[in-house]
């Protein structure tokens, strides 16, 4: 980035682009040109900054001013004020919710303070479509070092010693996985990157691929060198067009620079990468399913062993890691195993990226050291619960994980602690829920997902999850019984115990963990026909308060089924048998006279 005096970094992540990020770039360039600054200022589309809640984000370099919620119309002011006159545009600065003061640099924001960015190190800093910017930040140096100076065993040793574990969910030690693949003898081996991020509410892999595609390519080449593979495959969701196009550019550039292809660094080592597209099947995150999908088959899992490291793609030894795992590799080699293992907890080293979403003030992509507590993540980084509501639960691990509650808030997050608490790391989705969220409905939401995504190969997952969903549905309709609850528990345990692959083995977790932590809520549904959170339509009743109702008749007029009766200027009444609980009256009442019970 040497040539220009100033850089304007515009977040090019999917979230910000969806909020007219492209128009911002266009306007910035236009105004810069109008002011004759095009030789001095460069506008750069970067990867995701992570702070999606406040997007679109624009960052000024070198002074690091961080503008939030920028609109295309703001371009003019940014250029004229900030670039021409050297004055910050105050109204676009982040306001600290507590001190109510403007904060101009990201490092001083609560959202960023506790983060350490290793996997996301380049996201938001470089133009992902320019390989030079990656190289300027030590890109491909680790690959060069590995293949020119080190033996595969030595590289693997560093990965093992670093303590890096798979970031896709299982948490298998990465170095060990590489070593197993290395030891299998075969004329052909494959390196696969699992970029089939299917967990609803997780988008870290996508952000890495969009923001720093070369780190993944570099790591795959290192893996190829270590395991003896010369073909890499990235299995990526077709729903990620931006990530796909950036990967294509990155692969092309790396080939042009001789960093992919034949005889890399003149060492005789060949390695190239191709893309394979997923087509919308969550189960393809499971590695055997993923491999079958790459082979043009239905993405059904097969029983392991044999593991892919022995017999994978086209029956050849195949090393599968996910995007975030790969993104860690080049840094680990550069900075050493000791450095990496000094971060994190005893058994979980390094950092983890989480997609923080739900009822939290600061939605976004964050990366924190293993061992950070949920409280720090939700309240310090996430800025607490939206609208001042009460924290109720947080779901980690997506549909495979579980709901954690108040009592888990101070547990240091790592693989083993999450499992011990009845959840799991998963790929890193973290959905925060408040007092308005019904836990039975939450479990039902996840089961609805699993039912749709079950491949259908094994009976417990194919039929069992459907039955779980049906029972949960019955409960949210107020038709459940205590017997249903005991059946739910037994069936959940059997599905976990007997399913063929990771999908079914974990799909009942949302049910079991909500039953464990919110038993009273389940009981309220089945015994008292009540939904304490007031979310289950069938169980709620709209009631007009006699005291508060002034008889304006607005409610009776909006009611689509004429369930509300009453004379003008006299309290109205809702007939519960005709009421369809659409909530129209509740929203229309200006006097707060209608409540949900």
């Amino acid at each position: 980035m040497a040539k220009y005096k100033n850089h304007v970094l515009v977040c090019g992540g999917t979230g910000c682009r969806a909020s007219q990020g492209e128009e911002i770039v266009y306007n910035l360039n236009r105004v810069i040109e109008e002011n004759g600054l095009e030789q001095e200022v460069q506008v750069v589309r970067t990867g995701c900054f992570g702070f999606c809640e406040k997007g679109p984000v624009v960052k000024m370099v070198p002074d690091n001013t961080f503008y939030v919620q920028v609109s295309p119309d703001d371009a003019e002011e940014i250029v004229k004020e900030h670039l021409v006159k050297g004055r910050q545009v105050e109204r676009l600065l982040y306001t600290d919710p507590e001190t109510k003061k403007h904060v101009s640099e990201s490092k001083n924001m609560g959202f960023y303070k506790k983060q350490i960015r290793i996997a996301l190190r380049n996201c938001g800093f470089i133009n992902p479509e320019n390989i030079d910017e990656y190289i300027a930040r030590d890109g491909y140096a680790s690959l060069g070092m590995a293949i020119t100076e080190m033996k595969p065993e030595e590289v693997i040793r560093i990965i093992i010693d670093s303590g890096l574990r798979g970031r896709g969910g299982g948490g298998f030690p990465t170095g060990l996985k590489w070593d197993i693949t290395r030891k299998v003898e075969s004329d052909q081996k494959y390196v696969v990157c699992n970029a089939d991020e299917g967990d609803p509410g997780a988008f870290m892999d996508r952000s890495i691929l969009e923001g720093d595609p070369h780190s993944v390519l570099e790591a795959m080449a290192i893996n190829g060198y270590c395991t003896g593979a010369n073909q890499g495959l990235i299995y990526i969701r077709a729903e990620y067009p931006l990530a796909i196009s950036r990967l294509k550019i990155a692969i092309q550039q790396a080939r042009e620079y001789g960093l992919l292809g034949k005889d890399i660094f003149g060492t005789g080592f060949d390695f190239d990468v191709e893309l394979r597209y997923g087509a919308g099947a969550f189960v393809c995150g499971e590695e055997t399913s993923l491999i079958h999908s790459m082979e043009g088959l239905r993405g059904e899992p097969t029983v392991k062993p044999p593991f892919p490291s022995e017999s994978g793609y086209k029956g050849k030894p195949t090393n599968v890691n996910n995007v975030e795992t790969y993104a860690n590799i080049p840094v680990i080699l550069m900075k050493g195993a000791k450095w990496f293992s000094s971060i994190g907890t005893e058994k979980s080293k390094g950092t983890k990226v989480f997609a923080l979403a739900g009822k939290v003030n600061n939605v976004g992509l964050i990366e924190v050291p293993m061992g950070t507590t949920l409280r720090e993540v939700i309240f310090d980084i996430g800025g607490g619960i939206k609208d001042g509501k009460k924290f109720k639960a947080v779901q980690t691990g997506g549909p495979s994980g579980g709901c954690l509650t108040e009592k888990h808030l101070d547990i240091p997050i790592d693989y083993d602690n999450l499992i011990a608490s009845g959840s799991m790391m998963g790929s890193g989705g973290m959905i925060v829920m408040d007092e308005d969220d019904c836990m039975v409905s939450m479990a039902k939401f996840y089961l609805d997902f699993t039912v749709e995504e079950s491949c259908g190969k094994c009976a417990p997952c194919r039929i069992g999850n459907k039955r779980l969903y049906e029972m949960l549905h019955k409960i949210t309709e107020g038709k459940g019984t205590e017997e249903d609850l005991s059946n739910l528990r037994n069936l959940s345990n059997v599905i976990k115990d007997t399913s063929l692959c990771g999908l079914g083995q974990t799909s009942p977790n949302p049910v079991l963990s909500t039953m464990e932590n919110f038993w009273d809520e389940y009981m309220a549904h089945v015994k008292e026909d009540k939904c304490p959170a007031g979310q289950c339509k069938s169980l709620m009743q709209y009631i007009i308060s006699e005291e508060k109702c002034v008889g304006c008749t607005l409610c009776s007029r909006v009611c689509p089924v004429d369930a509300i009766t009453g004379d003008k200027k006299a309290p109205h009444v809702i007939n519960p048998t005709t009421c369809i609980k659409c909530g129209a009256c509740f929203e229309k009442c200006k006097f707060g006279a209608i409540s949900i019970q």
Partner: protein, 588 residues
């Protein structure tokens, strides 16, 4: 040989490395229940998706339960096949499968022969706690096979049979999750697909999802119709398997009892397809010698190898998949159709009946025969040569319906003239039999010398593809044999590539030949049953006084009185057919 030692249900077991827990348990008499798993040794049928999860067992140190059919034994493994956890899981999984299954067992075609039903009984399922929506699918009734996929449990056996064994590729798992099922493309009817109707999907289906179209009531309607003369022909493989339906040991020959039963059921004439098998040899053997002599005379146009054409599943296969080769198989009709053609001409004349008043019923080990007799070219003015074809299983059902005590029936003989046959015809029922029968006749016709050795062991067996060279008195004849359409495909690819050295090839669609046909009593994955049936067939052959088709006196009489000579004008008219290109074309 690497061995591993493990403990199953507190018993030490030593097995070869690579053995599954299921197999290891079997060696100490522990039968872990299975449902989707099926292996037919000696054929390449092995279905082991690990999908039903009924065979789960507890392995010490393992987080979840292990499928016994897919989990290999490891050193020091501690396995419990009947812990409380295992039994609860197994029963719960079974309840789930049943919760998505119609409860019409009492009237289901598979009742009493259903693996799901007997497993439910074994596990003592008395109630289903987990009820809910059931998956339903479009029904499909072809002339041969009925698909009622509401009863599918996704064991995938049919898919394995159709794709891996038969390489027909009509069936595939479709959809996902609760809606997943096995079906042809676009859930089209089998009739519209490239299905060969070999019926191997039916033969392996554990439930009533795949069954044959039952035509037994049509047969009874004909029998009670006083205007109709109803004659029946029975295929060679039927007599080697029918007894199983009545609890008799597999491989028990029940020819005489079967004839007796058919007579009691009210058929006017009980004939034998074997007679037509002898006739087939006369035609096909002549055709072989004709092509061979032209070839030896230097004719480059003549098509060799000649392929047998007795098997309708096989005929469907090459019409769909190798239409460019439809001029290679023999033009001889199958024995079923030769019988029908003769019955409705020669025999109808003898009876002085009009052909439409003669009803020809065939009892076949086969479902493709149902389709074959419905083909347009096998009818005259809309009147089919063979009116109704029923399977071995349907015949057994008719016998039960008529309260016949099958085992106690006296032995009876076929009627004449269409009931006489030789040993050569009997062995049509097994793989290798047709070509052996052809060799016996062709040798003598060609060399004009009596054959000294009648048992060609080199042509027999269960290997999927076999070959042998038979010395025709100085002329070496290379013979190939394939059973199972996947094996047939390999030989066809060779011919297509010009690599085939064979003069004649016998092909049967079903593994084992007709003894393993889609209409036979269910083998439930027991290969021994097929082997015993095969043995019985060769025994029947051995016991016959006449063992060469051309020695059949009624065949000789038929040619003398009616047909003239093999491959002559009349034969061509009645006993030969032609094939159609059924490959789908891309139309622009």
């Amino acid at each position: 040989m690497d061995i591993v030692q493990l403990t199953i249900d507190n018993k030490k077991v030593v097995v070869e490395k690579g053995t599954t827990i299921l197999e290891a348990a079997k060696t100490i008499g522990v039968d872990v229940p299975t449902l989707c798993h099926m292996k037919l040794e000696d054929t390449n049928f092995e279905n082991k998706p690990g999908g039903c999860r009924v065979c789960v067992v507890e392995v010490e140190g393992r987080r979840n339960l292990a499928p016994a059919c897919k989990t290999e034994c490891t050193e020091g493994m501690m396995v419990n096949t009947h812990s409380v956890r295992v039994v609860n899981a197994r029963r719960t999984v079974m309840e789930l499968i049943l919760s998505d299954h119609p409860f019409d067992c009492l009237v289901c075609a598979k009742s009493g022969d259903c693996e799901l039903q007997s497993l439910a009984q074994n596990l003592g399922i008395r109630e289903i706690k987990y009820t809910g929506a059931k998956s339903t699918y479009k029904g499909d009734e072809s002339p041969a096979i009925i698909r009622d996929m509401d009863k599918c449990i996704m064991c995938r056996r049919c898919e394995t049979a159709c794709n891996e064994v038969q390489t027909v590729g009509v069936l595939s798992a479709i959809n996902r999750g609760f809606e997943s099922v096995v079906a042809p493309a676009f859930e089209m009817d089998l009739d519209h697909s490239t299905c060969t109707f070999c019926g191997q999907c039916v033969a392996v289906c554990p439930t009533g999802a795949l069954t044959e179209r039952d035509s037994s009531s049509k047969v009874m309607d004909a029998i009670v119709n006083p205007k109709k003369k109803v004659i029946v022909q029975t295929a060679p493989a039927v007599r080697a398997a029918l007894g199983e339906e009545f609890g008799m040991e597999a491989g028990t020959l029940v020819t005489g009892k079967m004839v007796s039963a058919l007579r009691k059921l009210g058929f006017d004439y009980v004939f034998d397809t074997d007679f037509a098998a002898d006739l087939t040899i006369m035609e096909e053997g002549t055709e072989l010698l004709d092509r061979l002599s032209k070839h030896l005379a230097g004719d480059k146009e003549v098509k060799l190898p000649i392929l047998t054409s007795c098997c309708p599943g096989w005929v469907n296969f090459f019409e769909h998949q190798f239409p460019e080769m439809i001029d290679i198989p023999s033009t001889a009709k199958s024995p079923q159709q030769m019988f029908g053609a003769i019955a409705k001409t020669y025999f109808a004349d003898q009876l002085k009946e009009k052909r439409e008043d003669v009803v020809v019923v065939s009892v076949m080990p086969c479902l493709a025969k149902k389709y074959e007799c419905s083909r347009d070219e096998f009818a005259v003015d809309g009147d089919p040569d063979v009116n109704i074809s029923i399977s071995t299983r349907e015949l057994a059902q008719m016998i039960r319906n008529a309260n016949l005590n099958f085992e106690a029936l006296e032995e009876d003989d076929f009627d004449n003239p269409l009931g006489e046959s030789t040993g050569a015809a009997v062995i049509f029922g097994t793989t290798g039999g047709v070509i052996e029968a052809a060799v016996r006749t062709a040798y003598e016709v060609h060399t004009k010398k009596p054959l000294e050795r009648l048992d060609f062991e080199e042509l027999r067996g269960m290997e999927g593809i076999r070959s042998a060279t038979i010395d025709f008195d100085g002329l070496p004849i290379n013979i190939g044999i394939a059973h199972g359409l996947g094996n047939a495909r390999k030989l066809l690819e060779d011919i297509k590539a010009g690599k085939s050295q064979f003069h004649a090839i016998e092909i049967m669609a079903c593994p084992g030949g007709c003894i393993g046909g889609g209409g036979q009593p269910y083998h439930h994955g027991n290969m021994e049953i097929l082997k015993k049936r095969q043995k019985a067939i060769y025994e029947e052959d051995k016991g016959k006084t006449l063992r060469k088709s051309h020695e059949n006196p009624f065949i000789q009489k038929l040619y003398a009185e009616f047909l003239g000579e093999p491959c002559g004008h009349k034969s061509h008219e009645l006993l030969h057919t032609h094939y159609y290109d059924k490959k789908k074309k891309v139309e622009i």
